[in-house]
């Protein structure tokens, strides 16, 4: 472990910015809100501000992106297919552990199954990741219940822990080590290095006050959802409150459903784009012709929570799909963020009436 004085953070971001497009939590100039965004410069990234409102997944999996273009010459009938230009290397600085886990879910799902998603791979390779330990949880957080924080365990090149005035720097990869050497960071004495574990312990203790029964019940909800022992009424109760806006999927660090569309761009030219999609939409599973296998909204909600909390989906992510960031709570017009769903399941399990 090494030491990075807080005032020297700019040296680290500056060094990364030389070869990467630099992303991290920044405060919005007008609204004052924290956004995970392309930084205007190395000093714009602020690691003391709360977890960004948007997940970092947009950097590797953009909301909408062109993946290739086609051009057809009418006279010769020749067709050219051009893949989108290669993405520039990116550095993600200040990733919270939940978001890093979300990214790892995406990695395992997009890269680790039968096929590799080559578009995702393009964004993901040559990436440098600096994670940031949450020394105190934010109000919506429950990563302690989903085993995804408050400190990162894997997947980072460098990991920072604020111990007051300076960061402890944990190296997670060879290129992380290279940067540490390049910056000439001092080795942390053993006593200081031990502060990381202490900081994590203190942070975990703070969760007791906010991750109460609904959140702490997550592991049991996983069991229930996996085995399917959840009465239809629970899904109906949740489905009634779903506004079908798609927000839960859009803000989820591990949701990766997408849509593909081709667009005409003028005579003989067209483009293929892919964009975020959500299983809460009625048209999502529709088929050509008149057949929608998942018409009722409660069936669609069911699908999402199955993805976030079932064991069979966990096998694809090598962990539960929910990383405990709490974003779905904040964006849901229907007040059915994941913790409330767990509450509904808990009520049913403890034989209380699921309706209020």
């Amino acid at each position: 472990m090494h030491i990075l004085p807080k005032a020297d953070l700019r040296r680290l971001t500056g060094a990364l910015a030389e070869r990467h497009a630099l992303y991290g939590p920044v405060r919005h100039e007008v609204s004052g809100e924290v956004i995970f965004d392309l930084a205007a410069g190395p000093s714009e990234i602020d690691l003391d501000i709360p977890i960004p409102y948007n997940p970092p997944k947009g950097v590797v999996f953009p909301q909408a992106e062109r993946i290739m273009s086609f051009s057809c010459d009418r006279a010769s009938k020749a067709v050219t297919v051009e893949p989108a230009p290669l993405a520039a290397p990116k550095a993600l600085v200040g990733l919270r552990p939940c978001d890093l886990n979300g990214l790892l879910c995406l990695d395992r799902f997009m890269l680790g199954q039968e096929y590799v998603d080559e578009v995702f791979l393009e964004h993901r390779k040559k990436m440098f990741i600096v994670s940031n330990t949450c020394v105190h949880p934010f109000p919506q957080c429950f990563c302690a219940c989903t085993d995804s924080g408050p400190a990162a365990v894997e997947g980072f090149d460098l990991d920072l822990t604020d111990i007051g005035g300076e960061y402890l720097v944990l190296t997670g990869s060879a290129k992380g080590g290279e940067l540490v050497r390049g910056l000439g960071l001092a080795e942390a004495p053993a006593a200081k290095a031990a502060l990381r574990a202490k900081a994590v312990e203190a942070s975990v203790a703070l969760f007791d006050a906010q991750a109460k029964d609904n959140k702490a019940w997550i592991s049991r909800a996983v069991n229930r959802i996996t085995t399917g022992f959840i009465p239809h009424e629970v899904w109906e109760y949740i489905g009634d409150q779903c506004f079908e806006c798609g927000a839960c999927a859009f803000v989820c660090p591990s949701c990766s459903c997408f849509n593909i569309e081709d667009f005409k761009e003028g005579e003989g030219r067209s483009a293929r784009e892919r964009a975020w999609d959500s299983c809460s939409f009625e048209g999502y599973a529709r088929m050509a012709g008149d057949h929608n296998p998942r018409k009722a909204v409660e069936d669609r909600r069911n699908k999402r929570f199955f993805c976030k909390l079932s064991f069979s989906q966990s096998r694809k992510y090598l962990r539960p799909g929910c990383v405990g960031c709490g974003r779905c709570v904040r964006v849901c017009p229907g007040d059915i963020g994941l913790p409330n769903v767990v509450t509904a399941i808990r009520r049913e399990t403890t034989k209380q009436v699921p309706h209020e």
Binding site: I67, M68, F70, C72, K77, A78, V79, V81, P83, F109, M110, Q113, E114, Y115, V116, D117, E118, V119, F120, E122, G228, S256, C257, F258, N259, I260, E261, D262, K264, G268, R269, S270, R272, R274, D277, C279, Y284, A285, R286, M287, A288, G289, H291, P293, R294, D299, K303, F306, S310, S312, Q313
Partner: protein, 280 residues
């Protein structure tokens, strides 16, 4: 972007030329194609029961089951026009280009069925995805027991591939049973829904596998009859259609139960289908 994992064309479609177009029944055409790039043509190997993603440039991409057999068969697609993209495909002429990704999906379990009796039950254009299997089985006639085709459609002119069926019937012992929904002039065969042919065909049950494909109502009625005749759920095989977008198990549009039709399917036994917990 390059090919990774399997031999399939994963992301960037390979360009293919439409060599010939054949009108089948109303709204259904067959498109014979060949790849522009000879390397692609050589490495493009399909299994019976797989599907491809077909790009109509400027219109979009759609998933389509492959009707051609892996052996001695010209690559082609039989497509009904149902939406924007398939309508655009129907407007193409020989010499026009399409894009092809794939082949994707698991395919039919041929190794498991050697030596068995094979029953094909199809409704309407449900015969298309079964075609490759039928051709394969007939080519290896000796490896199988009884081979039956039970096939029906709304009207006589909506029966697919009749000219091919006539060819297939030249194979010894290929039993065929046809039906249409309602009586019509010039039709002296069976009348009624497809499932009503199951009993008259006196199907074999032991060492038998049935391939069933057609619209959901027909499918459910046929399954009931096959079960009644004694066929077990695991001996009934079907290929499911879903709204596939990526073909490689990522976009999740084709999620059904705990599986993805594009990578875990599209071929499922009825036993598996029952555990999916969704309408098929």
């Amino acid at each position: 972007m390059s090919e990774t994992g399997s031999k399939a064309i994963v992301t960037v479609p390979a360009v293919a030329v439409i060599d010939e177009i054949r009108d089948e029944i109303e709204d259904v055409k067959t498109f014979y194609f060949s790849f522009e790039d000879p390397d692609v043509a050589r490495s493009f190997r399909v299994r019976s029961g797989q599907f491809i993603m077909c790009t109509v440039f400027g219109a979009g991409e759609f998933a389509v089951s492959l009707p051609f057999s892996p052996e001695n068969d010209r690559p082609h697609l039989s497509v009904r026009q149902v939406g924007k993209v398939t309508r655009a495909l129907h407007e193409l002429r020989p010499g026009d280009k399409i894009g092809v990704r794939g082949p994707f999906g698991n395919g039919f379990p041929f190794e498991d069925i050697k030596g068995k009796n094979v029953i094909y039950v199809a409704g309407g254009i449900g015969l298309i995805p079964l075609r490759s299997s039928i051709v394969h089985v007939l080519q290896h006639r000796k490896d199988f027991g009884r081979i039956l085709l039970i096939y029906g459609s709304k009207t006589a002119k909506e029966l697919m591939y009749r000219y091919m069926i006539d060819e297939w019937r030249k194979t010894e012992g290929f039993e065929t049973y046809f039906t249409i929904d309602n009586p019509e002039p010039g039709w002296d065969g069976h009348v009624g829904f497809v499932h009503t042919l199951v009993a008259p065909a006196s199907i074999p049950v032991k060492e038998t596998v049935a391939f069933v494909c057609g619209p959901p109502l027909m499918f459910n009625a046929v399954i009931k009859e096959l079960n009644k005749a004694g066929l077990k759920d695991e001996a009934i095989v079907s290929t499911l259609e879903r709204h596939m977008k990526c073909g490689i198990g990522k976009c999740q549009h084709c999620a059904i139960g705990r599986t993805l039709v594009c990578t875990d399917g599209p071929v499922y036994t009825y036993k598996q289908i029952k555990t999916l917990g969704e309408q098929i």
